[in-house]
Symmetry: C2
Subunit: 178 residues, 2 copies
DNA sequence: ACCTGAACACCGTTCAAGT
DNA sequence: ACCTGAACACCGTTCAAGT
């Protein structure tokens, strides 16, 4: 048996499943999306999904990886824009996927797979934010705590929809630092 | 038929169910706790729960109300302590129920019942925090945004466990205000 | 009024069987 | 290697039947 026989097809197929799942997870939510509906949307049988992914949680992690890759590409594509414009772009993207954020938080308490992804994700975002803060000339000693405060604020805004002005007031207060 | 016939018994029974559910929801999580296990823990049949609560979400709201009442009483009981001591007490209590917090966030996106409870809860906590800030002599115009930033930070710390020192660093940065 | 046992539609997952 | 249909254990919820 030859290794990597038709790897292209396998990847294409699993990508289709991931895309179908990504749409449904974002719109309907992870818990309320059945494996059957993912299969239907991908034009396959429920059991076929299990040939590509170990279980529903593994499918979620694949979806998260896919969205993260997309987001990092989108971020790179607009490197020309200002720091605050890019931050707003990230917030908007995350807002579209707030149901995924809550799902990750909920599952992190029980699933080690998701918990691992979650902390890796925050290591990445913390590093990105820290680098931006460093370039803004922020005192090095305060950077880690500030990066965390930034992440917490963004997640808070996702979880608690506020009128635009109040949202801006919070962000302004956050960035009003000595 | 007399109104309020044996209201004591009815309340006592539903309180037993709520307490059983509160323990399981906090330990196992809302989604992973079955109505059957709540019933078993309360010494009744699954269907009996539905005589006291419309559905699983209504049971969750009853649990949340119960915990909130307990927390407000506990807060009042230690009115003598300092403001920061009381805040730490609240954070510790919430940490024990972080699974409830994620459940509320996740369900708020789809359930109007839970979403309503969620915003009522935050109106209350915002008011409490704002009052504390007012008494600390904070500029009135900045209070609403500061209260929100405080809530977001507390929730962020619940969702992303950090070493004690880093946790303190974030809280210190938050309270380091002109 | 209160509680139950049997039943319903649905869920994630498995497995023997096909190609 | 890849995909399926039938089956399994479980879930939240309903309902007719009991007291």
């Amino acid at each position: 048996m030859p290794r990597n026989r038709r790897p292209r097809d396998r990847e294409a197929k699993s990508a289709e499943i991931v895309e179908a799942a990504a749409t449904l997870f974002a719109q309907v939510g992870f818990d309320k999306t059945s494996m059957a509906s993912v299969a239907r949307s991908a034009g396959i049988t429920t059991t076929t999904i299990y040939w590509y992914f170990q279980d529903k949680e593994a499918l979620l992690v694949a979806v998260l990886d896919h969205l993260l890759t997309e987001m990092l590409q989108g971020l790179q594509a607009q490197a020309a824009h200002s720091w605050t414009d890019r931050l707003l772009w990230v917030v908007e993207r995350l807002q579209e996927h707030s149901k995924l954020v809550t799902a990750v938080h909920a599952l992190s308490a029980t699933s080690t797979t998701v918990a691992t992804w979650h902390s890796a994700f925050h290591e990445l975002t913390d590093a990105l934010l820290a680098e931006e803060l460093r370039q803004s000339g922020v005192d090095a000693a305060q950077i880690p705590a500030m990066a965390r405060l930034g992440v917490f604020t963004i997640e808070g805004l996702l979880m608690h929809p506020l009128p635009r002005e109040e949202q801006r007031a919070v962000l302004e207060l956050l960035s009003a630092r000595p």
